[in-house]
């Protein structure tokens, strides 16, 4: 154990090493480490936030799809209803038209029959008059017997 000036020299060297480390090594490295810790924390936070956002978006999309599907079924229902309505209306219209046409045709038939009957009646009247005049062999005053003939015609 021989103490000598090496002791003092090494103390000075040690002091310089410590100061170098305090000044040039420690701050840089701890700064880098702390910044990285911050970055990692931020990254984790961002990931978590993104995860939550994704979940939220998923939920929203699912809700929207559900709503859209519901709307689609509603629209289909309504369309079907409308189609049915149109069909019913068309059918009703058609039936009404048919009825109308049928009624018109019947009217026509009735009026034509009426007319034919009247014509027939007139013809029969005139034929009767002609026959009667032929039978009587004399001119019957058509005007004088008109009332009689008309009555005859209505009786036929």
């Amino acid at each position: 154990m021989d103490f000598n000036a090496t002791l003092i020299g090494e103390m000075i060297a040690f002091a310089f090493l410590i100061l170098f480390c305090v000044r040039f090594v420690w701050p840089h490295l701890t700064k880098a480490i702390e910044e990285r810790q911050l970055k990692i924390a931020e990254g984790l936070n961002a990931a978590e936030r993104a995860h939550a956002e994704l979940r939220e978006a998923d939920n929203k999309a699912a809700a929207e799809v559900k709503q859209a599907r519901q709307q689609a079924t509603e629209i289909i229902d309504r369309a079907q209803q409308q189609a049915n309505q149109i069909l019913d209306k068309a059918r009703a219209d058609a039936v009404a038209e048919i009825n109308r046409l049928k009624a018109a045709a019947q009217d026509d038939i009735a009026s034509m029959a009426q007319r034919a009957r009247e014509e027939l009646r007139e013809r029969v009247g005139s034929l009767a008059v002609q026959g009667a005049s032929k039978i009587v062999q004399r001119e019957i005053d058509a005007a004088a017997h008109k009332a009689l003939l008309d009555q005859l015609a209505t009786e036929i």
Binding site: L17, W26, I33
Partner: protein, 266 residues
């Protein structure tokens, strides 16, 4: 080195335990152990340049492997400091880092073959060269006395002159035992650097000595002893890896503990 078994071994060990001494004045204190100084300074410079080169390019993004290693060492030391000391670590952290890495590197010189550096220096005409600075009592006391100065400095800084004096004279037995308290506190204060330095010195000196004794087997003149020497050297070197790490760790932790104790109020 040595050819005859008994006297040769003693001579060999004594040769290896002699420092490369540079005398400034003919006698007394003013001389330097050039081997301790050169090796410790070289290792200190290596430590500084290594850590500085990584710290200069330190990025907060993805670190390179070298930066990651340096950061692991730093985080390890910082964790130890954080456990013991609750305050501003901007000085104590780098101090602990310097102590740990520097002591570890100097201890690791023990793992070089004991004859490697002496043989090389002999080629340059330097007869004596001890390669482990921490096996030099000057080296270990230089560090522990620096720690003592820091302990005293931080005691004054944390408690003020009056507060520290009050503590020195009144703890632990009250003001009626002031001289006794003061003597007790001085012993306590002095025991810190002595135990710190002697523990490291003793471990490294003994380790070096065991390496030399085993190396003595190589020149014992028997192939059996030569083989035992190889096995013994290997086993002791592997065990020594543990010792040098533990000693560096203990020196660092005790440095932290002493300085954080200086901050504590009694």
């Amino acid at each position: 080195m040595a050819s005859e078994p008994q006297g040769g071994l003693t001579e060999y060990i004594q040769h290896h335990l002699t420092h490369l001494n540079f005398r400034v004045s003919p006698s007394g204190f003013w001389s330097f152990h050039l081997d301790s100084v050169s090796v410790s300074l070289a290792l200190g410079v290596i430590f500084c340049l290594w850590f500085w080169s990584k710290a200069r390019k330190a990025t907060s993004g993805v670190p390179s492997k070298g930066q990651a290693f340096v950061e692991i060492v730093l985080e390890f030391v910082d964790g130890q400091v954080k456990d013991v000391f609750h305050g501003d670590r901007r000085f104590l952290g780098p101090l602990a880092l310097t102590v740990f890495v520097w002591v570890f590197l100097m201890n690791a010189m023990d793992l070089l073959p004991v004859d490697l550096l002496p043989v090389i220096t002999e080629k340059f005409g330097v007869g004596h060269f001890r390669s482990v600075p921490t096996a030099d009592v000057n080296m270990t006391f230089a560090m522990s006395l620096t720690v003592l100065i820091l302990v005293i400095f931080y005691s004054f800084k944390a408690k003020g002159f009056g507060g520290y004096m009050h503590e020195l004279f009144t703890a632990p037995f009250g003001k009626w035992f002031a001289p006794f308290n003061f003597a007790l506190n001085l012993v306590e204060l002095a025991s810190k650097p002595v135990s710190l330095a002697m523990r490291l010195f003793g471990n490294m000196y003994a380790g070096e000595l065991v390496f030399m004794l085993i190396a003595g087997l190589f020149s014992a003149g028997s192939w059996l002893l030569y083989g035992m020497g190889i096995i013994g050297y290997t086993v002791w070197a592997i065990f020594h890896i543990l010792i040098i790490s533990i000693q560096a760790f203990i020196f660092m932790v005790l440095t932290i503990v002493y300085i954080s104790m200086a901050h504590d109020h009694h």
